[in-house]
Symmetry: C2
Subunit: 492 residues, 2 copies
Amino acid sequence: MTHTPLLLPDDEYNRALVAHVHPPDWVNPTPSGRYNVVVIGAGTAGLVTAVGAASLGAKVAIVERHLMGGDCLNFGCVPSKALLSSAKDAVAGGSIEFTDAMARMRRLRARIARHDAAARFRGLGIDVFLGQARFTGADTIDVDGQTLRFSRAVIATGARAAVPDIPGLSTAGYVTNETVFSLTQLPRRLLVLGGGPIGCELAQAFQRLGSQVTIIIRDTRLMPREDRDAAAIVQQSLRREGVTLAFGATISRVEQRPSGDRVIVAEVDGRMQEIAGDELLIATGRAPNVEGIDLAAAGVASTRSGVTVDDHLRTSNRRIFAAGDVCSPYKFTHAADAMARVVLQNALFLGRKRASALVIPWATFTSPEVAHVGISGADAAKRDDVVTLTQLFSDVDRAVLDGESEGFARVHVEATSGRILGATMVASHAGDMIGEIALAMTAGVKLPAIAGTIHPYPTRSEAWKKLGDQWNRRRLTPRVHRLFTTWLRWQR
Amino acid sequence: MTHTPLLLPDDEYNRALVAHVHPPDWVNPTPSGRYNVVVIGAGTAGLVTAVGAASLGAKVAIVERHLMGGDCLNFGCVPSKALLSSAKDAVAGGSIEFTDAMARMRRLRARIARHDAAARFRGLGIDVFLGQARFTGADTIDVDGQTLRFSRAVIATGARAAVPDIPGLSTAGYVTNETVFSLTQLPRRLLVLGGGPIGCELAQAFQRLGSQVTIIIRDTRLMPREDRDAAAIVQQSLRREGVTLAFGATISRVEQRPSGDRVIVAEVDGRMQEIAGDELLIATGRAPNVEGIDLAAAGVASTRSGVTVDDHLRTSNRRIFAAGDVCSPYKFTHAADAMARVVLQNALFLGRKRASALVIPWATFTSPEVAHVGISGADAAKRDDVVTLTQLFSDVDRAVLDGESEGFARVHVEATSGRILGATMVASHAGDMIGEIALAMTAGVKLPAIAGTIHPYPTRSEAWKKLGDQWNRRRLTPRVHRLFTTWLRWQR
């Protein structure tokens, strides 16, 4: 049984983490009979599928080649939010040692990891196989020489950092989200390639912990998938904290100097520049993990964006489904969770649930946070039947009182009906407040109902209600106003 | 024209505040003809009524005897949350000077006060009268010798701190929420009488700013109107920060010693004690402002709890309505706002809106915050048809990562239908997250729909979804489970 080597450094916390999720003396079970479902990959999508199926009485196997818990637990949301939380304290309270912040992160990760431990899932009646899965036919999978037969399989192998093809990069060396959390020393100067959510979050965290951070991005703005005004606020916030932003950069090569410096040679603003750093973080996107599992043997089609699925998350092999980062443009833990639930129903219970019906919010956990759900501002702007309303936090008392008045809340609304099509919020803990709009969109609650909902004063969530009030005021047309005035004159 | 003397001290910020809300060279207008509505009191309820009526074309007058903006702006939510925000920074970042925190509070209050300035409402076409209003008949009000005739009147005179009848108290001297924000020096030892929301919030703020605070309360717990478990967490948090809690206290008298000390002589735990402090804050409840406006002259009935209203917020004089703290047990700014909207419709447009139909959430802005909506835990426990579900934040990853895992979210649900009857959350910014449940309750969205709503990971708002998941798991009865198992065996 050969495993991919574990990337975590050999310290106390990581030994605890690995022992939790992936015991070193693990022995795979012997498969018996046909499984209702074999799940490949024990990240969020895989674990939710496996646990859900097992709890409903299915015979389930799950195969993991690396660490139980996947990216989210080991190299994603969990360590990054732990670090961001320390970094926030660093801003508020002065200096926090990098090594302390990293130790805290690893301690918390180890604590949360218990939920995802291999032994726990075995305890739930799931056959857990640690090793590399490989399709050997339309309904069989090989794991280290053992054959698993399945009625249904679910590919949930996730994604990894996509490393761009830049001359010199692999020689110079770099970290990704998988290795950055293993750094033992704070880089004095950190270069971040990419200005998406991962790049922005880690840039802010490292800057706050004491690095001098430069973000290098091909685009002319940060967070290209977000509302332009939202991204502008994050941009301003990063700049104010001292992060250097190099927009519109075309990188020609990366060099490692004898001094140890990594140097990015790039054209920025039409001028060749050398940007030097002690460490280089690649955060230019995600690549789906479709290699090594022999999709062809099972007749599963895939492209560069991952496993090809229909709206029911079924692949080109009708026995096989996919969920999570390996098949979705929405590479979020909560989206993986939701897709797993769709797969459970469709794969095991003749369901016809559609992934396209999912309302998927997301958040970037910078300070301030940016949360979004539904259609984008750019799409809303193109449509005549959509009204966009904005509430600035400079007019929301609680934000003013907390000294955080620069964000906003924005909704895109169907003009005729008041149906909410999308929303963006920029505020500290916006991620906690987007749930209200996600609920409204999912349950078909329209904007006037949010105006009719009492929100406690003084809170930031009042911004949603104020948008509802804006909507209601739009309905007070001059004609209606004349009617009211006439009535009131008559009543006087 | 005589006004109640202004309580704010004569410093730069307060002069700015007063100039904003209550210009010293103000001249009352001359009333002409009959008003659609005369509003008494320019706090939240009064201002929302007046602005709403005026914007619909009504002829409106508003009368204020003290400061435009009422308690919320001048002595309530606004200054207290400004101070709490500074106090939070003090915990995170070390020392913050009391005078700086107070100066910041007054500056922010002055900034927000612009919205409530007398001149602004005049600009909206409202006749603003500064002075004491007094009913002189069923449809007339006197203000400093001028007579205002009305088709409808709205009493929105609010409430003030109720000062208990304790021997020696008035001689010893004390502050209330009206005067505490005018303190120029941090009391070394602060005694707080009362453990409701105002008492708890200010106790925590002053302790964090450097006072040694003791809360003295007759009850055996803090926040007697809140969920017992929620109150226990706040209690623990206050204790941990060094606040002394004296429960079950029967106060016999208050003394002022020659040293300047205020001493409370009380029986605590069956033993007479003397508790000494430098300042004494009274926060034992609110008394409605029903005096001085001659309710009897208009035939308006009132009791010790305030102006008596029916469910349509109409008083015993059918031309006269009431809204806000003067008539409601829900003494919150947002409740006053909502009641004003009910009154607008019922008083001016033959509406039949019911105050009892309002879903009123509230929050106490301690750290952690406690937010609540709907039926109480005590009421839920008495009912056989209600299921109570709890989600601890120790199992919500974001709370763990932020080092804030001691709170919880709790819902009370109608057992047959999944209809949400009430909820409590204890978490930092719980007040922002209760809006989602307030929306669900207002719009008739049931708990399964919250389970079906994707919430971004990792956020605290996931707690609501996890409660929905708990609800759904309850529906997986052994019978249903057997059905699934049989189906899956057959499918294998």
